[in-house]
Symmetry: C2
Subunit: 244 residues, 2 copies
DNA sequence: GTGCAGAAATTGGTTGGACCATTGGACCAC
DNA sequence: GTGGTCCAATGGTCCAACCAATTTCTGCAC
């Protein structure tokens, strides 16, 4: 017998029911991100549940980043919601050791290369112009501040993800933003971390503009490789300077 | 002025404090996944907060999959926790339309190819033996039932992710399990969905066993390509049969 | 002693009501 | 306008109880 033909009955799912009702409400009212939801007290009264139950439900949504609560002001929608949403609560063990950072780079390598290739295939002229704009900003920031800028660099890559034609890339990588950016916060003491990656930003752009997926993929891989090299340099340095 | 020089102050974070204390408790008691946490009432008393606050905190952890609550029994640890955990609550718009499924496959293609390549580089002999075992099970299931088996197929791929030497792959893909498996639940009406992918499971294994990263990557890409073809077949069929 | 049914205790789930802290607008004096 | 004060609205916390599922204990029949 198929296990799925007899799912466990749901005896109690009060807060789930609240969320379901809330999805319906958002749809019915066509609420956009940024707009305010009804107050907890009103929700409790309308749904005939206690305010605590409403709060547990909203806490779950808040944890998923769907909603933001501001004391004294209200509860605000932060993202679009729909009934067929898929939640991927992914919690990773952190750490700024060499191994963790290297593992992060392997994920980024996989996603970045694919996104660059897809982008070269599909990006519209407007997308490419936008990427060029971000590239200019980044290069200028590099020259004036004489070093990689985390913010501008990120925006450049983000533009590529967005132009890949697959919103999942942008969403996944945005969720991993914090993970990726631990490099710039704790670059293992490497001076000029990321310097070597600078020229490849332009070469990636050129391959994309030339509609060359394999070329774009190759340049993206080169960029990641320089970052990995910086990482290894930092790790070697650490090993020399101190032993814990 | 730099926007970051005046960050908003943190006024109150009762439930965050509860979670922080709980992390300390788990560490101090060396609790393993599966073990039971103190009851909500005890936590409330010990931490000098109300049970409601404890519940909000635990609700957050439950949403992150770190903890499981069983009424009448207790709250159980589901995963290792540490103070430097990174949360990636990723919610994706669902949908079983062709576009959504295709986008999912592009993510899988990126991760699967990279994982297969890394696996070919790093897998231990024991890892390879385990992959071979899963492959045998899957192939036998295929023959007896004359069709791809979602469960056994998944275990085979999971073994590869695990042997990639990078736990992030397994974690990310496990979180996306539901996303990937909508293919088998709603294969767009394609009979024998996934049939064409069958032979590539063995070729992937062979390239891994031969320590051939590029070969493993290529075979993984071929496997994904067959699934994408099935998908396109299904989409074309749908287009013919009905117009919404 | 063993086995088992039922009572009792334990534990998460829910309720209702209260009060606090923050917010944001209304209003006012200057 | 500017700045200050007040006040209602709103999320945050607390308390005390009860409900529902689960586990544990008890005592009886054998």
């Amino acid at each position: 017998m198929d296990q799925n033909s007899l799912p466990p009955i749901q005896t109690s799912a009060r807060d789930d029911a609240v969320l379901k009702a809330l999805v319906g409400f958002v749809r019915a009212e066509a609420l956009q991100p940024g707009e305010r939801l009804p107050t907890e007290r009103i929700l409790a009264e309308r749904l005939k549940v206690s305010r605590n139950t409403v709060r547990e439900a909203l806490t779950r949504w808040e944890g998923l980043g769907l909603v933001e609560r501001r004391q004294g002001s209200g509860t605000y929608l932060k993202a679009a919601v729909s009934h067929d949403m898929l939640h991927m609560p992914l919690t990773l063990a952190g750490g700024n050791d060499f191994t963790s950072l290297m593992q992060t780079m392997e994920i980024r390598r996989a996603l970045e290369a694919e996104a660059a290739a897809l982008c070269a295939e599909r990006a519209s002229q407007a997308d490419i112009a936008e990427i060029a704009r971000k590239l200019d900003i980044m290069e200028q920031a590099f020259r004036t501040r004489d070093g990689m800028s985390s913010e501008e660099d990120w925006e450049f890559h983000q533009a590529i993800y967005r132009a890949s034609g697959n919103p999942l890339f942008e969403q996944i990588i945005a969720a991993m933003y914090e993970l990726f950016h631990r490099f710039w916060e704790h670059p293992l003491g490497v001076r000029d971390f990321g310097h070597a990656s600078f020229p490849y930003h332009r070469t990636i752009y050129e391959r994309i503009a030339a509609r060359d997926p394999q070329g774009a993929r190759a340049e993206a891989l080169k960029l990641i490789a320089t970052v990995e090299d910086d990482l290894k340099r930092g790790a070697a340095k650490l090993k020399l300077s101190s032993q814990t």
